[in-house]
């Protein structure tokens, strides 16, 4: 978070986190495609030749003024592939909220659990209190065959009490519900942070 009272700007960071291929980049691509151009910057993707995220994707959203303050959101994705662990922690630095993108396919359960666990570890290492830190859960790929039920995923990931949304990000379903919940949660936290 960076508050610039000189310009009346509130700069906030949200990171899309989750296992490889769960659809993090797809969320940002859809947001970029469906947001009025004057409100968004370029979508920057540091990716491999196979379209896999290498370091991060980045997209800035500039909201209209609210009570003389202009909120700006920097959205990032982390690379989900296992061997990019070091990068993931770097990207989480300074984040004000996380969207955890779950791959709902039954065969990906262990990857989701592993990713969730390391995310919590990183957040704790970065000094966050998990009981208050905004984490929004997105159950993605609901359109795929062989997905686990939401109640089963909820139980397996122990995400009780977190805002949760079903999504099929490739066609946009649930993408903005998730984003709005994340933005609202982060704004809610700013209030307590600056008192």
């Amino acid at each position: 978070m960076f508050i610039n009272w000189g310009l009346g700007e509130l700069n906030l960071k949200i990171v899309y986190y989750g296992p490889a291929l769960s659809g993090k980049t797809t969320n940002l691509q859809y947001i970029h495609a469906r947001t009025p151009p004057h409100m968004r910057g370029r979508l920057i993707s540091l990716k491999t030749q196979q379209e896999r995220t290498l370091l991060f994707d980045f997209l800035q959203l500039e909201m209209g003024k609210v009570h003389n303050l202009k909120p700006k959101f920097k959205l990032y994705t982390v690379p989900g592939q296992v061997y990019y662990a070091a990068s993931r922690k770097l990207i989480l630095q300074g984040t004000d909220g996380v969207v955890f993108v779950v791959d709902s396919q039954a065969g990906r359960l262990a990857d989701n659990q592993e990713s969730w666990y390391t995310m919590e570890q990183h957040l704790v290492e970065l000094g966050h209190d998990l009981s208050t830190f905004p984490i929004i859960v997105q159950y993605n790929k609901r359109d795929m065959p062989h997905v686990l039920s939401v109640s089963e995923l909820k139980r397996q990931l122990a995400v009780d009490g977190r805002p949760q949304f079903e999504a099929a990000a490739a066609r946009g379903a649930g993408v903005f519900d998730t984003l709005k919940a994340a933005m609202n949660a982060v704004i809610g936290q700013v209030k307590t942070a600056i008192r």
Binding site: N4, V66, G94, G127
Partner: protein, 159 residues
């Protein structure tokens, strides 16, 4: 509050702008920018007006963090933190300032590296003095209770 939260008042912002502008006027500088490790662009000075400083800040922070991590994995102690890119037409330096900030300087090719390094060091010290100085002079307006609900309403009107 976590370490990465930064709050700047109008006078601090002004002091930082002045420091960058002075840097920019001493040589053929394209861009001088302060960002933080979370990728926030804090303030910048440029003699072109088309640079996407938000994206540059995000990338420079990623670059610096990745470089530091490579150093750490090789056993470095995070002492010297400078990234240099030499292009045909320009030179770009990214230096770490204090714990969590970075200063990016883009100059014409003929500006000597030695000058740039010294300038980065001096400006870095000035930046730390400003950031470390007293709290913002104008008290920040508190976020009123209906800030969050006005914000939520705006989101619903966009998407």
């Amino acid at each position: 509050m976590t370490r990465s939260q930064l709050v700047l008042g109008p006078s601090q912002l002004n002091d930082l702008r002045t420091a960058l502008a002075q840097l920019g006027q001493q040589a053929d500088v394209y861009l001088a920018m302060i960002a933080d490790f979370s990728g926030q662009d804090i303030v910048s000075w440029q003699n072109r007006h088309d640079l996407d400083t938000s994206s540059i800040a995000a990338l420079a922070a990623g670059d610096m963090m990745a470089t530091l991590e490579v150093g750490r994995m090789l056993g470095g102690k995070r002492a010297c933190n400078l990234i240099v890119q030499e292009h045909d037409e320009l030179t770009i330096l990214i230096a770490r300032v204090g714990e969590g900030l970075l200063l990016l300087l883009g100059t014409a090719k003929d500006v000597p590296l030695g000058w740039s390094r010294l300038a980065l060091k001096r400006t870095g010290d000035r930046i730390l003095a400003v950031i470390g100085s007293a709290a913002p002079s104008a008290p920040p307006p508190a976020l009123s209770d209906d800030f969050a609900s006005s914000f939520a309403a705006q989101l619903d009107s966009i998407w």
